[in-house]
């Protein structure tokens, strides 16, 4: 049985996007060599990825490009090589190793989890993550808490849920990474 992980940046008041749907705030904060080194120099491995349409399109527009290969070659290589599933009824993925999830989201993810293969990570894709969480399909949340209060927006959690903290790390810039098991 594959595990499904959600990796998401959220505000301190728990929103993955603001009331206007934006998330530029997720990049706010001071320059922090510690966080930058953690993000840029510590990546390895991967598993498979699951995206909603909007996050997928954002990723597809950057990681296959020469600019990505120039700026973050190891990450770009990993992203391009990874198998990617896309939850969408309106686009046809063209990125290498990307494919649409067949049929309805929840049943498709149940089938995916029941199949053989590596663990699957939902990157961003807040609306998809919220649906999967509400259906009890998420095994782990990795949340990057950005020190910004939005006062409103959209939340990952549409129903109450008890979580168990299994890892944590705080950065000088105020970002805190928390890992919870469900």
């Amino acid at each position: 049985m594959r595990r499904l992980r959600v990796f998401e940046s959220i505000s301190v008041d728990g929103y993955f996007c603001d009331a206007g749907g934006g998330m530029d705030w997720a990049h706010a904060g001071r320059d922090d060599a510690e966080f930058g080194a953690w993000v840029g120099g510590n990546a390895s491995g991967g598993g498979e990825l699951l995206f909603g349409r909007k996050t997928y399109q954002m990723m597809e527009a950057f990681w296959p490009t020469p600019m990505a290969a120039q700026q973050m070659p190891a990450v770009a290589k990993g992203m391009n090589a990874a198998r990617k599933y896309v939850a969408s009824t309106t686009i046809r993925p063209t990125w290498t190793n990307a494919q649409l999830l067949p049929g309805e989201l929840l049943s498709a993810v149940r089938d995916l989890k029941a199949s053989d293969g590596p663990d699957v990570t939902v990157l961003g894709s807040g609306s998809v993550a919220a649906q999967l969480g509400a259906a009890g399909l998420v095994d782990e949340y990795q949340l990057v808490i950005i020190p910004v209060a939005l006062g409103g927006g959209r939340t990952l959690f549409t129903a109450g849920r008890q979580l168990r903290l299994i890892d944590q790390r705080a950065f000088r810039c105020g970002n805190v990474v928390l890992t919870y098991a469900t």
Binding site: F7, G45, V75
Partner: protein
């Protein structure tokens, strides 16, 4: 706690925003450091001529982590000339004195980029090549010397220059490669970049020359060599910090998911 590639990718996304807690890249512009600037379609251009070869250069736009400089070259000699990005170098400097300059490096070679795109998408892209050489409108030079007329065999008009300048604006708007798909990148590097061309007498070519941004530089030299003739262009680099959009307009940020 280690990140996977994908988690690092997600955290470093945001288009031109640097990793994690970083602020957006600054706007970078190049201003000619020369007394004889000619403005063409909003661009500050400088032209130089040596023994029958005319070269003009003007900063065009910032393309992610690169700067695009429009270069036009006209062959007024009686010989055929070879023009190649491999004969173009740049040097970044921290002060006007040459001693402050880093060693010259070649500008970005469009052929290498196209090869990388080719590999990335496992399909050919290189056929679109060099026909632009004879068709490109020499906007910078035509504004001051009817060069397009010589190159294309018909009179140059002011309106043609304006139309061409407008088209250049459209091209620039379309060239935000950081946000573009591979297909768009291929088109940009194939059609917009200055590539190797043979110029017969009376002909000219135009295209964009790309050099990586060095945010610590205060001056940039672009050295263009054509048939052994050296055309150095000196620019002042101007950086304008960009505040994160959320800090200025929390409700105006673009939706990404």
């Amino acid at each position: 706690m280690r990140l996977t590639f994908s988690q690092a990718a997600f955290l470093s996304m945001g288009g031109l925003v640097a990793i994690g807690c970083a602020t957006p890249l600054p706007l970078v512009r190049l201003k000619p450091d020369a007394p004889d600037i000619v403005w063409v379609g909003g661009r500050a251009s400088v032209q130089k001529e040596t023994t029958g070869v005319r070269v003009a250069a003007a900063f065009e736009h910032q393309d992610g982590s690169n700067l695009a400089v429009r270069v036009e070259i006209e062959n007024r000699t009686t010989d055929r000339l070879e023009v190649s990005p491999q004969e173009m170098t740049y040097s970044v400097c921290s002060a006007p004195a040459a001693a402050s300059c880093a060693p010259s490096q070649r500008v970005i070679d469009p052929e290498q980029i196209l090869t990388a795109l080719d590999v990335a998408q496992s399909r050919g892209v290189a056929e679109a090549a060099n026909s632009q050489a004879l068709n490109g409108t020499l906007v910078l030079l035509s504004a001051v010397g009817d060069v397009a007329s010589a190159a294309r065999g018909r009179p140059t008009t002011g309106s043609a220059t304006l139309v061409a300048a407008s088209a250049m604006e459209s091209d620039a708007a379309a060239q935000n490669s950081a946000q573009a798909s591979i297909a768009v990148q291929q088109q940009v590097w194939s059609d917009q970049a200055l590539r190797r061309n043979t110029l017969f007498p009376g002909q000219g070519t135009t295209g964009l020359v790309y050099l990586p941004i060095n945010s610590k530089a205060t001056y940039v030299w672009l050295q263009i060599t054509v048939a052994g003739r050296l055309f150095p262009f000196h620019f002042v680099q101007v950086l304008t910090p960009v505040q994160p959009a959320w800090a200025e307009q929390p409700q105006g940020a673009s939706e990404i998911r």
